[in-house]
């Protein structure tokens, strides 16, 4: 079979997927860059957002795009509670303990969803579900286009926020040197809370946007967590631009790899890239620079 005509389609799919990966990874990299916490439950908050969207559709008949106004605040609130209850107490604990706490949270979230919603796959229909945009030979789902565009815009918006606003400066100060920031009168704890809420809360924005073209299941979160880790390591931990670039690379690798090999073999390619990067360039593509 000649695969060449299908390549543009795979590339387009990969870029769209990459945009979503990028924003999920940006959230992860933000919590890591600022709080130095590796959040193994990151993707599970995306799954929580997806189930909230599902509930909005099933109980209230809300279109995913409408349920955004509910899901975003709820996920952000959940992030705030998580920070206060679980993350803040271990912020100075050894790395092992932090990892174990977020792993525990991931177990709780994933299995709570399993208990409440069973392992069944759910689709969440939207007015845009069937719409397809055509560019030459490339067909693109309108919903995927919106999700990717918003994700990229959000990445850039967050970058601007951190670079150019007063709050952004305070967050960066807290990230750079906790004690120095404290001495300058920065409320570091509040900045950590803010960073965690933005990093995790952004998933509350992403979830309803990807809902129209994704299935929801309790394990969807762990897939995203692992992919986000791969993206983050690829693009250098704590680096925004790196997460964006890494997202596109992994998105394209997955889509084109899926085209070439079919089946689950393309996961092997992604993991192989990840392991090779960890071994030979653990500082990532963009080195040690931090945004």
């Amino acid at each position: 079979m000649d695969l060449l005509p299908l390549l543009p389609q795979a590339l387009a799919d990969g870029i769209l997927l990459g945009g979503v990966y990028a924003i999920v990874a940006v959230g992860l990299t933000m919590t890591f860059g600022v709080l130095r916490i590796v959040n193994f439950a990151h993707g599970d908050f995306l799954a929580v957002g997806l189930y909230l969207t599902y509930l909005g559709a099933a109980l209230l008949g809300l279109d995913p795009y409408l349920s955004l106004v509910l899901v975003l605040p709820l996920v952000t609130l959940a992030a705030a509670f998580t920070y206060k209850l679980l993350v803040a107490p271990v912020i100075k604990a050894p790395e092992h303990n932090q990892i174990v706490v977020t792993l525990g949270l991931s177990l709780i979230l994933q299995n709570a969803m399993l208990v409440f919603f069973t392992a069944d796959l759910h689709a969440i229909p939207s007015v845009l579900s069937g719409h397809v945009v055509r560019f030459g030979n490339v067909f693109i789902q309108a919903a995927a286009l919106i999700a990717s565009a918003v994700s990229i815009a959000l990445c850039l918006g967050l970058y601007w926020f951190l670079r150019s606003t007063e709050f952004g400066r305070l967050i960066r100060a807290s990230a750079q040197d906790r004690d120095a920031a404290l001495m300058c009168g920065v409320n570091v704890d509040r900045m950590y809370l803010l960073a965690f809420c933005i990093g995790v809360g952004s998933l509350g924005l992403v979830a309803p946007l990807i809902a129209p073209f994704n299935y929801v299941s309790p394990s969807v979160g762990s897939n995203f967590t692992l992919t986000a880790f791969i993206v983050v390591v690829l693009g250098s931990m704590g680096n925004f631009a790196g997460a964006l670039i890494g997202g596109f690379i992994i998105g394209i690798v997955e889509a084109v790899g899926g085209l070439l090999t079919g089946g689950s073999i393309n996961f092997i390619i992604t993991y192989a890239i990840f392991i090779l990067f960890l071994l030979f360039k653990p500082e990532g593509l963009l080195g040690g620079r931090r945004a």
């Binding site: 706490v101 709780i108 880790f229 390591v233 073999i265 996961f267 092997i268 653990p282």
Partner: protein, 316 residues
Amino acid sequence: MKPMLLLALAVALLAGLAPLLSIYGQHIFVLVALYGSVALAWNILGGMAGQMSLGHALFVGAGAYVSTALYLKYSVSPWIGLVFAAAIGGALGALMGYTVFRRKLSGVYFALVTLALAEMALHIVSNVGFLGAANGLSIPSKPDFANFQFGSKLGFCYAALGILALVSGVILAIDRSRLGYVFLAIRENERAAAALGIDVVQGKVIAAAISGALAALVGPVYANYVLFIDPESVLGVPLSIDALLFSFVGGLGSLFGPLLGAIVLVPLTELLRSLLGGKLAGVHLIVYGVLLILVMRFAPQGLWGLLTTAIARRKK
């Protein structure tokens, strides 16, 4: 030699206890011994040497697949399969340790590499027809000592106890040798250890190799007990998490805390399962998650730490 004597005594006691248990009790006995062995093996690298792995399923799975494939395809007795399993596990551990630790990766990077390696192995095995791909491998039931299939559960009790005794013996031997101090020095302060002339990389590689070899030994016993293996059950993330979880809940800093973790948590899991009767599949994992967080917050030394401080207080 006192600890070794105590170990022998404990093993003899447990061996005497096993025939008195009901069939169900023996089933729990086997599970506790097997999970306890994996957790103890994990703890050699994770607790004693301080390198947290999120991929120990890789070793258990490798052991299970090596011995099962040898038995099914080449009629090699699982008894010999055990030797191959340990060799493969040790080699994988050494290779993983060497590639990772030589690069001075530690902490979360090491955890991620191990997680990714185990996941990659899962996806590879899921695509290899020779190993049954995603459907797994079934072992036909032919109870015979040479086939590592025992007529009763009691046989498996002794087999699992044998593995547990071996793992415990190795841990005691390490603890009493220079190697134990090397591990301790690496865990407590890598730079200071290096400054004292300890080859840190070599120490960690040895820890990974021993840990991998011992974890791999559990694979063949499990495979022949259940008579079925598939990628999800022996290579999946949940198994890796279990090893870590039992160790943390039981007590990371101690030699035998991980076993205590398995002794408490495995029966708890089975109890929850039988109480809920197959419904609400994830409940025991929610309990695990809560326990993990509670232990981290309020008793970082785990159950073992709680127990020893309680005993110390009684003595006063």
